[in-house]
């Protein structure tokens, strides 16, 4: 089963499901905002999305992952808006029969998400300035 959500506000983690007969492996990934972005100190990131397209691309990527690898569940929440340092911007749960296919699927999914889903980061610096994340390196 595939569930994807784009959320403006803190992520409620999917409950760990300790009641599955066929899934030997459950892998959870939480991606958090770190205190530095390209070596500049930040207080938060602000995630911008291309509305509707972000969610539909996320869904496509999730469905492709589930089809490509033999996994049962792929649940994903991606946050948009302001996310403070230390908080999760991305939460993914994959359930599969075996661990190996689960890890491969998780890596594939996150890479594909980072490659295709129209979401961008703006860095919020200590003085309050907001700049596209890439420009923090210049």
């Amino acid at each position: 089963m595939v569930k994807v959500e784009i959320i403006n506000g803190p992520i409620d983690f999917f409950p760990l499901n300790d009641n599955r007969d066929q899934d030997g492996a459950e892998i959870v990934f939480n991606g958090r905002v770190r205190a530095a972005e390209y070596d500049k100190i930040i207080t938060a990131l602000e995630y911008e999305q291309y509305e509707d397209m972000a969610e539909s691309e996320l869904k496509k990527v999730a469905e492709k992952t589930v089809k490509k690898f033999v996994i049962h569940d792929l649940f994903c929440k991606h946050r948009i808006g302001k996310v403070k340092v230390g908080q999760s911007s991305l939460h993914v749960v994959i359930r599969s029969k075996h661990r190996k296919e689960g890890f491969i699927a998780m890596n594939y999914f996150i890479s594909a998400l980072k490659d295709r889903v129209p979401i961008w980061k703006w860095a919020i610096l200590e003085d309050g300035t907001k700049i596209p994340s890439d420009c923090t390196s210049s």
Partner: protein
């Protein structure tokens, strides 16, 4: 003439200082031509930025002729996760 909407994100928004543009163009204008126009408006600030193209919220892989009412986005490298 056709009217199209350009959605601007991330570095494109930063370079143009706008979230959205509406352009009136001649019929037959292609996404490639619009991209050239946008890069010009950005005053060299997008010269080193690679842009993917979405028409009506779907990625396209080669230049298309635009239709009246189309929504176009020139998508800088995405950064989800």
């Amino acid at each position: 003439m056709i009217k199209i909407k350009i959605k601007c994100f991330s570095q494109v928004k930063y370079a143009l200082g706008k979230k959205e543009l509406v352009l009136e163009l001649e019929s037959g204008t292609t996404t490639q031509e619009v991209e050239r126009l946008i890069r010009k408006k950005a005053n060299r600030n997008l010269d080193i930025v690679s842009l993917s193209v979405a028409v009506n919220k779907k990625y396209i892989s080669k230049s298309l002729v635009l239709n009246d009412g189309d929504e176009v986005a020139f998508i800088p490298p995405v950064q989800g996760g």
